[in-house]
Amino acid sequence: MNQLHCSIAMKPPNNSEIIGTWFRKLLPLISLLIICVVLSLLRPRFLTWENISNIIRQHAQIIIMAIGMTFVIISRGIDLSVGSMMALAGVCGTLLMTVGVPVVPAILAGCVAGLFWGLVNGFAIRAPIPLILVLPIPMLAIMVALELRRAFPVTLVLILSIYTLTIAAAILLAILLPGFVGTPLKLLCRIKVSPFIATLGTMQVFRGLVLQMTEGLTVYKNIPPSFGKLRNGNLAEIVPVGIFDSVAVYLILIAFLGIFAFLILRRTRLGRYLYFHRIPAAVIFILFIAAVAVLAIRLRGSIPLPLILILIIAALASLVLRYTRLGRYSYAIGSNVEAAYHSGIKVGIYIVLIYAVCGLLTGLAGMIHFSSLGSGVPTEGVGYELRVIAAVVIGGGSLMGGEGSVSGTIAGALFMAILLNACVHLQISDYIQQIVIGALLVLAVAFDQLWKRKLQGESQ
C-alpha cells in the first residue's frame, strides 16, 4: 500500500513516449522535409542547389535575427524593435564605410552597433528611467560625429568609444544610483516596463534615429563593391566549380534524415537491441561533421557565405542555450521569473544580456541585408519583426516563455522562406503569399497546442 508516495518509481519512459516527444521537437523539420519533397515533385527546378542557396541568401537576415529572437522569446520577452534596429545598426556600419573604414571592420562595427542598441532595449525594459537620462548622450554624440564627418573623416574608434562610454554610463546609473540616492529616486530606478511596450517604443526611436542620421536618404557613397560579398559571396570563389545537380542536395537531405533517425532509434528498444546506444554521441557528431565537410569541399564554389555564417551562429547559439548559464537562465526566467529571482538569479542583468544577444545578431543581419543592396537604406526592415517572431513561434517557441530551440527556429524561418519561394515558382501573387504566411503562423501554433494538450491529457 501507499506505494504511490513512498516508492522510488523510476521506470524508464516507454518507447512511444520518447518517440512522441522527439516527434514534437522534430515536427518543424519534418514538415520542412515534406514540403521540400512535394515542391520538388511539382517543380523540379525547386530542388536545385542554385535555388536553395538563393533562398538562403534572400532570407539570411531573417534567420539570423530569429536566432537572436529565440533567446528573447524563451525568456518570455518579445523584441518588436528588430526591424528598425536592423536598419539602424546596418546604417551605422555602412556610414563608416562612406568615411573610408574598410569593409570587415565596418561589418564588425555594425554588429557592435546592434549589440549596443540591444543593450538599450534591455535597459528600456529593466531600468527605463536611468536609460532616458542617458540616451540623449549617444544620440547627440552620433549627430555631432555625423556633422563633423564633413570636416574630418570620423574614425571607427570615435563611434565605438561613444558606444562604450554610453554603455558604461547607463550601467553605472542603473546599478549604482539606487545604492547611493534617496528612496524616491531609488524607486524611479526600479521601475520596469513590459518588453512589448519598451520595444514598441524603441522601434519608433530607432526608426526615427536612423532617418535623422541619414536625413532619410540612402547611404551609398564610397561603399566598396566587396561589401556585396557578405551576402553574395561563396565559400571559395577562387575555385570555379560548375553548377551542381540536385544529387548533392539529396545527399545532404539523406544525411540529415539518417542522423535524426539514428538519434531517435538509439533511445528505443530496437535501438538498444542493435547496440546503437553504445555508440557515443560524439562519434555520430564527428561522422556528421565529416559528411558535411566532404560535401562542403565538393560544393565549396557554390556554398553561400551567409549559410556558413548561419551554421556557425546556430551551432554557437544552441551550445549557449544548452550548456551555459545565460541559456539556462533564459529558460528559467521564461518559465517562472519569480522562481528565478528567488533562486538568486540576477534576473535584471540576464534580461539585459538576452536583449544584447538579440541586438548583436540583428546588427549582423543588418549588414547582410545592406550588403545585398550595396548601400544603407534607412527605410528597410519595416515589418521584419513580425516575420522574425513568426519564425520562432512556428519553430516551437512559446510566447509564454520557457520553450524554444535554435533548430526549431531555423526550421520555422526556412519553412516560411521555402513557402514564399514556392509561391514564386507556382506564380502565386505577392498578396496571396501574405495570406499563406499568416495562415501558416496560426495553424502552426494551433497544432502545437493540440499536441501539448494530448501530452498533458496522458500525464493526468
Binding site: M1, N2, L4, H5, C6, S7, I8, A9, M10, K11, P12, P13, G179, R322, Y323, T324, R325, R328, Y329, Y331, A332, S335, N336, E338, A339, A340, Y341, H342, S343, G344, I345, K346, G402, E403, Q456, G457, E458, S459, Q460
Partner: protein
C-alpha cells in the same frame, strides 16, 4: 433514510492505463455536509471533477434525485445544480462582486443587442448577499478584496446559480483561524437552507466543526463512509494512510551548535517593527502567528526580497548589507516559499533544471554546464527524498504537490544552505509526504543546518521546533521553549499579544 439527492455507483476512471478510481460509491443527502478525505492521489479530486463534468467516468452511474444522468460537461453539471468552488479561485478579478455573481447570466435590458441592465444586476446581487448574510459590497472590485471575501464571492456565485450541491476543495487553506471560523458559520447557514456540501480538506481538525458524514478514499478505492462522530481522529488517519501514524514527528537528535543567523532590530515601515532573534546550527525555530502577523514578510525581508528600513542581518557571523536573494544565497541562506508554484519552481522545466537552479555555478567549468553531472545529482536527490517520478527528466509540473515540494527542497539542499527558511512547508501536501518532509528536517539539522519554520499548523510547530517565536502585527511578542509550552499559550500570544496574555 430519505432519497439521496445524489448517488454515484461503481465509478471507475483511468488515465493512460493507470486506475485512478476503482468502483467508488458515493452518496449525498439533502442538506448534508459530507467530508471527502484521502491523501493526495487518493482520487478525491478526480471523483469531484467527474461530478463537475470536467472528466468523464469510464464506467459507473450517477443518479441525480433518483434519475440516472450522464454529466457530459461543466455547464451541464451547473444546470443540474452542482457547483464547484475551486482551490485556486476562479473569479474575474477586475470585475465587481455583482458582475462576478451573474457572470454569463447577466440580466438584460435589451435581449437582441445584449445590453446589460446594471441596476437590476446590482439589486439582484444585493438581495442575494443580504439573504445569505454575506458581508460583501456588490460594487466592490474583486481585486481589492482579501482572499477570505473572494471565497465568499465564489460561494455566492454558486448560490446565484441556484446550486443545490456545492463542492468545496480545501476552502480554508488560505484563511486565517478567525476567517475560517466565520466561514464555518456561512457553511452552517447554507446547510440550514437545505444546500448539500461536499467538503474536501486536508485539515482533519476543522472537519470536526462542520462534517456530518465522512467518506475516506485511499488509492482510488472507497474505504469507508460513516457518520463523522462515529470515528476517532486516529481511526480516520489510519484509514487514510492504511497504517498507524505514530511517528509523524521524528525524534530530533542533532547537537545545537553555534549561532548561524542573527537578526537585530529589523524594521520595514508598516510591516515589521524592531524584530530581533537568532538561530543556531542544528536548531529548528518555529515562527507562529495568525495570518497577517508578518511571518512571510519577515522571511522575505531576511532573505532580501523586500528591502528593509533599518536593522542588521548576520549570517555565519558576517553581516549582509543591502540584501538581495543572490547575496543571501551566497551567504548560505535558502528560502522555501509558501507558494511553490508562483515563487518556488520553474514548473514547465525539468527536475534537474529546478534542482540546480540556485547553485548552477557549482556545475559550471569554463562556462559550460556539465549536464551529465546535473542529471546524476538529480537522480541522487530523487532517491534520497523519495520523489516519485517516472523519469529523472520529468517536467516538474507533471508531479504531484508533495513531490513538487520535495523538488523545491532538493534545490536548497543542493545550494548547501546553512540557514533555511521554510514557509508553510506542508501546505497542500499529503500525510505521507509531510512525514518525509519532517524526516528530512531532522537530517538537515544533523548536517548542521538551522531551520526557521513558518507554519499555521500549531501541532507541527510544537512537534518539530526547539524554540517558538510568536509574531503579532509585525512584532515579536514572545519566545517560547517548545517542550514547555502549549497550543493554548501560543494562540493566546498570537491573538492577544504579550501584555494581555501575561
Amino acid at each position: 433514510m430519505t432519497q439521496p439527492i445524489l448517488q454515484m455507483v461503481g465509478i471507475n476512471k483511468s488515465f493512460s492505463g493507470v486506475r485512478v478510481l476503482r468502483d467508488v460509491d458515493f452518496e449525498l443527502q439533502k442538506g448534508e455536509i459530507h467530508a471527502v478525505v484521502g491523501e493526495n492521489g487518493a482520487g478525491k479530486s478526480t471523483l469531484m471533477k467527474i461530478l463537475a463534468g470536467i472528466h468523464r467516468a469510464d464506467s459507473g452511474q450517477t443518479i441525480w434525485k433518483g434519475k440516472p444522468v450522464e454529466i457530459t460537461s461543466p455547464s451541464f453539471s451547473l444546470r443540474l445544480g452542482i457547483s464547484m468552488v475551486h482551490q485556486e479561485l476562479t473569479l474575474a478579478e477586475h470585475l465587481t462582486v455583482a458582475e462576478n455573481l451573474f457572470l454569463g447570466r447577466e440580466p438584460l435590458r435589451q435581449k437582441q443587442l445584449g445590453i446589460i441592465n446594471r441596476s437590476s444586476l446590482f439589486r439582484g446581487a444585493k438581495k442575494l448577499l443580504d439573504e445569505n448574510h454575506f458581508e460583501l459590497v456588490p460594487s466592490a472590485t474583486v481585486l481589492r478584496l482579501p482572499i477570505a471575501q473572494r471565497q465568499l464571492v465564489e460561494i455566492a456565485r454558486a448560490l446565484a446559480a441556484e446550486s443545490e450541491v456545492i463542492i468545496m476543495d480545501e476552502p480554508t487553506s488560505s484563511l486565517s483561524a478567525r476567517e475560517a471560523e466565520e466561514f464555518f458559520g456561512v457553511i452552517h447557514r447554507l446547510k440550514a437552507k437545505g444546500v448539500s456540501i461536499i467538503y474536501i480538506s486536508h485539515r482533519l481538525e476543522e472537519l470536526h466543526e462542520v462534517a456530518d458524514r465522512i467518506t475516506i478514499l485511499r488509492d482510488g478505492r472507497k474505504i469507508v463512509t460513516a457518520p463523522f462522530r462515529s470515528l476517532q481522529m486516529s481511526e480516520i488517519i489510519r484509514h487514510m494512510v492504511g497504517r498507524e501514524l505514530s511517528a509523524m514527528f521524528p525524534k530530533k537528535d542533532a547537537k545545537i551548535g553555534e549561532e548561524i543567523l542573527r537578526v537585530e532590530n529589523l524594521s520595514r515601515a508598516g510591516v515589521l517593527h524592531e524584530i530581533s532573534f537568532s538561530l543556531r546550527a542544528g536548531e529548528i525555530v518555529g515562527i507562529a502567528g495568525l495570518v497577517g502577523a508578518g511571518r512571510t514578510e519577515l522571511a522575505r525581508a531576511v532573505f532580501g526580497i523586500d528591502s528593509i528600513d533599518s536593522g542588521r542581518i548576520f549570517v555565519l557571523g558576517k553581516e549582509i548589507a543591502r540584501t538581495s536573494p543572490s547575496k543571501a544565497i551566497a551567504a548560505g541562506m535558502g528560502y522555501l516559499t509558501e507558494d511553490r508554484k508562483v515563487t518556488g519552481l520553474a514548473a514547465s522545466l525539468e527536475i534537474p533544471t529546478n534542482v540546480t537552479l540556485s547553485n548552477l555555478a557549482k556545475l559550471v567549468s569554463f562556462g559550460r554546464i556539465n549536464l551529465r553531472q546535473e542529471k546524476e545529482i538529480a537522480r541522487q536527490y530523487i532517491a534520497r527524498l523519495r520523489i516519485s517520478t517516472p523519469s529523472v527528466r520529468q517536467k516538474v509540473l507533471r508531479l504531484s504537490g508533495g513531490n513538487q515540494q520535495k523538488v523545491a527542497l532538493a534545490k536548497w539542499l543542493f545550494a548547501q544552505s546553512k540557514v533555511i527558511i521554510f514557509d508553510e512547508p506542508t501546505k497542500g501536501i499529503d500525510v505521507a509526504a509531510k512525514s518525509d518532509v519532517f524526516d528530512f528536517f531532522v537530517e538537515l539539522t544533523r548536517l548542521g543546518a538551522g531551520i526557521l519554520m513558518i507554519s499555521s499548523e500549531l501541532p507541527e510547530i510544537l512537534g518539530m521546533s526547539d524554540r517558538i517565536l510568536v509574531m503579532r502585527r509585525g512584532r515579536m511578542v514572545g519566545q517560547l521553549d517548545a517542550r514547555r509550552t502549549t497550543q493554548e499559550e501560543i494562540l493566546r500570544l498570537a491573538a492577544l499579544g504579550a501584555e494581555r496574555a501575561a
